[in-house]
């Protein structure tokens, strides 16, 4: 323990030297911007800046590029809360309650809580990364296809708890998402499914065009379709900060989101977004007022926003301890380190102690910088809501189109986004939740690939899922969850969802 403190002290000496500090700041700033812009994510941001680091020394380069990664998680919440456009795939869940809070004039608190939650999660998970990396990395490697399949099944069942109104409606939406996820070239056989001769559909429907269309464009169409335009919000200064009640309600979700995000982040091949929606579902299940979710519950912002930040630190665990990427972003970071002659992996801590500990220390510093950078911006960002809708909406539509085109350079993706916008509008009119579609789309290819990989490993025998201890445990947990979900149906007891729906029905008939 004393060693760690000693090393960390040396690390801080590196991280706080003016040169490194400057590059950490540039990284955090670029990350925030990349997170704010819909479509462009941390992967594109890091790849674009990689050649610019060729002339730098290794520590500065790595500190800057990592700053983009975790900085993006701070920025991603901004457009989600203000305009219901996910700035980054991992911010989809924030759209639901974050935007609902903004509509109630609480955009400031939502943004502030998102930034504070991100800070706490970022810092706490770096502590975990520092102390637990080697043992956790070994655990992460044990996640092969069967274990991933079991984890994803668990994630899929959580979808059922996502619903705000009717469970049937949200399951229908999840199914739609799963079906959309089957489009594209089948990874196991090479057959094209539902391609209709369009090569652009070979990789399936992208998350970015789908989410930006369903959430962002769908919302604009729905608002424009109202007989009476919504009032322009004039946030006052004292409305920028969360009140005491909001702080209290956010505390536990931040803590739970941090742990959850970190654990999901470690597992190779899992997407950060899984951590966010599992966190959302957990908060809703534990909440004393689950009916508030979807209508501006602060816990629905605090949990997922903390989870996506903690997941980035989690993703660094296999990278630093084993030198293996846990996803595309860490793969680019590993390549960036190799360009500078540093090989991430078990030997890095002893061979490159300055870089390793400087990197760890810079993440503490970087998270603090991001908090300082983002809090004053809350006041500025909230001003966006003062813009009359006649000007704001065309600008948002333009951002949606630009962002989607910039992300893939494909005009087909722009069309997908526009079609999803219309679909999002229709579904909103019919009172369907759109988040389960996005989650279904993300889970579907992962779950299918993991299952078929497992079966080809076992020559078609399903017992492989029960022979592996981790997989069996996760599947048992999924079964418990399923039984808990079905119990009210069997007993005929109306749960809060039914009560809420009934109350809504009464209100409408009056």
């Amino acid at each position: 323990m004393l060693d760690v403190l000693q090393n960390l002290g040396d690390g801080f000496a590196v991280a706080l030297s003016p040169g490194v500090l400057l590059y950490a700041f540039i990284g955090c700033l670029v990350g925030t911007l990349v997170g704010v812009l819909p479509g462009i994510g941390p992967l594109a941001g890091i790849s674009l800046l990689l050649p610019a680091t060729f002339g730098l020394d290794a520590t500065r380069a790595v500190v800057m590029l990592a700053g983009i990664y975790y900085g993006a998680m701070y920025g991603g919440s901004t457009t989600s809360i203000l305009m219901r456009i996910p700035g980054e795939a991992a911010s989809v869940m924030t759209c639901i309650d974050g935007y609902a809070m903004a509509r109630k004039g609480r955009a400031g608190p939502a943004l502030t809580i998102a930034a504070i939650g991100s800070y706490i999660a970022g810092t706490a998970s770096v502590v975990a990364l520092m102390l637990l990396a080697p043992p956790l990395a070994g655990f992460a490697l044990r996640f092969g296809p069967p274990e991933q399949f079991a984890l994803l099944v668990l994630g899929l069942l959580v979808l059922a708890y996502m619903s705000v109104g009717s469970m049937l409606k949200s399951l229908a939406m999840a199914t739609l998402g799963l079906l959309l996820g089957t489009i594209g070239i089948d990874h196991m056989s090479g057959y094209q499914r539902y391609g209709y001769g369009l090569h652009e559909l070979g990789d399936g429907i992208g998350v970015v065009p789908l989410a930006v269309g369903l959430f962002g464009l769908g919302e604009i169409l729905a608002t424009a379709g109202r007989a009476k335009p919504p009032e322009v919000i004039h946030p006052r200064f004292r409305d920028l900060l969360p009140d005491r009640r909001e702080m209290r309600e956010a505390a536990a979700p931040v803590a739970r989101g941090t742990i959850l995000g970190f654990l999901v982040g470690i597992i190779p091949g899992s997407a950060h977004i899984i951590a966010t929606f599992v966190s959302y579902a957990v908060e809703k299940k534990l909440s004393k007022k689950p009916e508030e979710f979807g209508k501006g519950a602060i816990a629905g912002v605090a949990g997922p926003e903390s989870a996506n930040n903690a997941a980035t630190s989690g993703a660094f665990v296999p990278m630093l301890a084993l030198g293996i990427p846990s996803g595309p972003v860490t793969a680019v970071l590993i390549a960036a380190m190799m360009v500078h002659g540093v090989q991430p992996g078990p030997l890095m801590m002893t061979q490159q102690p300055t870089l390793f500990w400087g990197f760890i220390a810079s993440m503490y510093v970087g998270n603090l910088m991001l908090l300082i950078l983002n809090l004053p911006l809350v006041g500025l960002f909230v001003q966006v809501l003062r813009i009359p809708y006649g000007y704001l909406f065309p600008a948002i539509v333009m951002f949606c189109i630009l962002g989607v085109y910039a992300a893939s350079g494909s005009i087909v993706d722009v069309w997908i986004m526009l079609i999803m916008g219309v679909l999002g509008y229709v579904l909103r009119k019919l009172d369907f939740e759109t988040a389960p579609i996005v989650l279904g789309l993300i889970l579907s290819p992962l779950i299918e690939l993991a299952m078929r990989q497992s079966l080809s490993m076992s020559n078609g025998s399903y017992t492989i899922f029960l022979e592996k201890p981790i997989a069996a445990t996760l599947l048992a947990a999924a079964l418990v969850l399923l039984i808990l979900g079905l119990l009210p149906l069997v007993r005929g007891v109306a749960d809060w969802r039914a009560r809420l729906a009934a109350a809504d029905g009464d209100a409408e008939s009056k």
Partner: protein
């Protein structure tokens, strides 16, 4: 008035291509990368454009047009206006995709004769690796184990009909053995699956596995090149071990649409030749673990033809997977 305008317009239209040819390049050039940012193709492209811009005295903009394993971007480049302002950086998979399309009776996004090679920039032979704990010390031992229990030993790959799958298919075909293929979504996850012990073997570019070999986690058995790798001097090639036509490289090359005028092509070739020799490009590629292997258009064309023939054969032998 209208006649005058149309005459002027006509003259301008006629003059434009001629002008463009005279002082090519007179405007920025787009380099299409058919893969997402961050991969081998993208990193090679970003390393070459800096010296290339100095040679051409025009900016070179990278456009990542991803989709369908690269088919979308390669198709876009093959069908682009052949004026030299759109060029393509592609990997070995450029020869596989039309073959796979043929196999499934799909309308191909492009055919390989639509592309004209400019230069080869890098070519890494793949390396056969197994886990260090595994009992197989040589290719022979692996082959015998696979013969004893056909379909039992599993290998991971970057995806079905992907480069890593094809490399392995060449080996299993030549050895007459049957190994289980478990495709992953990219080369990174394929390496992770081997490290985690979920599969037993893998064909991989040297870059992603070198560190794990040095750390004693993985054991290299052979490489697919014509000569031994400088970084792994003790590892034999398949040719040395007596396997015929087991030769494969993960290579990166520059292409242009086939109808690019000869003078433009000359300028591109000359500029790329100088850029590939620039020390900044060399050191960037060295550090990425994939040293420069430059070939000018005529030699690259020959290399490509032989490579494409081997790959077409491999795709046919694998056939459709049911």
């Amino acid at each position: 008035m209208i006649r005058l305008l149309s005459a002027l317009l006509g003259a301008a239209l006629l003059a434009a291509p001629a002008l463009a040819q005279d002082d090519y390049p007179s405007r920025p050039i787009t380099m299409i990368i058919p893969f997402p940012p961050g991969g081998v193709a993208d990193q090679t492209a970003r390393a070459i454009i800096t010296p290339l811009e100095k040679e051409l005295k025009q900016p070179v903009a990278i456009r990542n047009t991803q989709g369908a394993g690269g088919a979308v971007g390669m198709g876009a480049a093959a069908n682009a206006k052949p004026d030299g302002y759109t060029i393509l950086l592609a990997l070995s998979s450029v020869s596989i995709i039309p073959e796979a399309d043929k196999l499934f009776g799909r309308k191909p996004a492009y055919t390989i004769d639509q592309l004209k090679p400019i230069a080869l920039l890098g070519a890494d032979p793949t390396v056969l690796v197994v886990r260090a704990e595994s009992p197989w010390k040589t290719v022979k031992e692996l082959e015998e184990a696979a013969k004893k229990e056909p379909g039992k030993i599993a290998y991971s790959s970057s995806g079905i009909y992907g480069t890593l799958h094809m490399a392995m298919a060449m080996f299993t075909n030549a050895a007459g053995i049957n190994m289980k293929h478990v495709p992953f979504n990219g080369g990174g996850p394929a390496v992770t699956a081997l490290l985690g012990g979920h599969v037993q073997a893998l064909a991989s570019g040297p870059g992603p596995v070198l560190a794990h070999i040095k750390a004693g986690k993985l054991r290299p058995l052979a490489n697919w090149g014509t000569k031994r790798l400088a970084v792994l001097p003790d590892v034999p090639t398949f040719a040395e071990l007596g396997y015929k036509n087991v030769e494969f490289y993960i290579w990166a090359g520059l292409f242009a649409p086939k109808d690019v005028p000869a003078p433009v092509m000359e300028k591109l070739r000359a500029a790329v030749k100088k850029a590939a020799a620039a020390p900044e490009f060399g050191s960037a590629m060295e550090k990425l673990g994939s040293p420069v292997a430059y070939l000018d258009a005529p030699e690259f064309e020959k290399f490509w033809a032989a490579d494409a023939a081997r790959l077409a054969e491999a795709v046919k032998r694998v056939g459709k997977v049911e």
